[in-house]
Symmetry: C2
Subunit: 333 residues, 2 copies
Amino acid sequence: MSATTSDEAPKMSRLLKLAQKFNCFYLNGLAKGDCRPFVVNGQQVGLISQNVLEHLLKYPEVFFIRDAEQGNQNIVELNPAFRDYSERSEQVDRVLREFRTQGVFVALKGWRNECYDVKSTTESLLKMERSATCMFGVRNYGVEINGYVRHPAKGLCIWLQQRSDTKQTWPGKWDNMVSGGLSVGYGIHETAVKEAAEEASIPSHLIKNLVSAGCVSFFFESERGLFPNTEFVFDLELPEDFRPENSDGEVQNFQLLPVKECLERVFAPDFKTTSCPVVLDFMIRHGIITPENEPNFTQIVELLHVPLQSLYTYRSTKPRCLNSSNSITNGGI
Amino acid sequence: MSATTSDEAPKMSRLLKLAQKFNCFYLNGLAKGDCRPFVVNGQQVGLISQNVLEHLLKYPEVFFIRDAEQGNQNIVELNPAFRDYSERSEQVDRVLREFRTQGVFVALKGWRNECYDVKSTTESLLKMERSATCMFGVRNYGVEINGYVRHPAKGLCIWLQQRSDTKQTWPGKWDNMVSGGLSVGYGIHETAVKEAAEEASIPSHLIKNLVSAGCVSFFFESERGLFPNTEFVFDLELPEDFRPENSDGEVQNFQLLPVKECLERVFAPDFKTTSCPVVLDFMIRHGIITPENEPNFTQIVELLHVPLQSLYTYRSTKPRCLNSSNSITNGGI
């Protein structure tokens, strides 16, 4: 370590570099200004880049550009004549299947036949093939479980999984013990329990100890598209003698690592970039990464919770389609 | 609970309203655009509102407005002719003492004779009377300790303190068990241990269990000024039979509350607004506030970690005073 003088730019720790890597779109992509809000039924649900837009405009009966009512930038709108959830879903699905056949988008090579519910703050607007959501910059929500052991000899240890080589995304990469996207019809806690059983065979007497521990938000970009991700985080303490076992073919290996080795692993090229935030959040909450050992501590914590809510604020002032089905109820503690 | 239709604005939970209250400047004040970067030795360290600026400009040998090199907005600069940390500190202190005598600022009625170290990312630039930092919108760092008990009958319980009626700020309000600002010469963990002894008489065999658990960042505004606060958060599990006792006269009462009662307490008008974030963060990390019981969960988590780092980015491109004393070393894990 050497003292820095005031004419040098501050040095960055490798943890800050990592936090900047999984926020590459938040920190660099956004400022380029070539993304437009994607608006469905008057409400912004995504961000669309120039290269995706060029293809969407070949379907003017489905997608079109419209001048924004607020601000300078125009928006990309799903045809507001589509009456409801099912018509919107069908129209978008038809276009996506043509793109898939044409092979124009890398993202659609990972077609999953699994649907994702595209929502505004008040309602579900359409369902969309999961692999396509990154083309539209739709906010993506998932669950991740930190499986950990308080080992008498090795101290705090973390279970990691190695993804199957046959997975569509990030094949063969190291990942958190359990993770999964939210699918239509499943709640957040329910998804965590389901994935824990499928991915790691966690028995019911152990999953009872699952604790909700917050969420991380970050905005990554890859050749597939945009990933404005929010992961709901759960911690699960496991007994020393338990070994997770995969039952759905999506995992090739599990490994229990002492926290320091786990921290080295996240810097390796074979760790899934978009799973790093949950590992760092765990290590911060459990006193492994601290303001004493990490000079960029506050910046890293902020980069684990970037304000995605402020990037999806466009709302039309025109009257919108009234549709109380699929609406989200709102109570609160 | 009633279903909302798509033509209504989404309802807000009372937790989201609270998160917006302690972020009133982040969400509303910033957008008004009447604050200018406060620049010392070429680096932004604060934000100055119009009403403070009017008084500063009466001391043109110390403060002046300068056209920004980047962007449209001009900046407020501390005279760059001041050579070093001690000259800057003395010059600012002289002006602040005159303001205090004149009685022009509410903030200075709470004069503490305690200094705060104003830093850039690379060095300490000057020390400033603590009560004045909110006039300059200087980022403020503190520590807070969540003292908690796993009670066999009452479940998870949290210790709160009631501040002394004679405290300069927030007298008589309920607050976290232990809190304190970082002062010149003290480290973060060191400050937490020192405050735990002074405020709550935590003995050394219990303070050993102190665990670093992250930080919260928010941006509050009051009649005193601007509060861009980052609080380093620590958790401390305490035995059921331990009772905190104050030894510095700054606390009039301690109370142990089951988490649900504690959650009600933060909504009461006699809870210190700027201490709410740490309570909410604790309840989120410990599975009390969850995405299942809080509809605005992700928004609240984002509002506990607003990107303060992006509000203090102005840097002059001109050569600055080289001064490697008081520089901050930068290593990282």
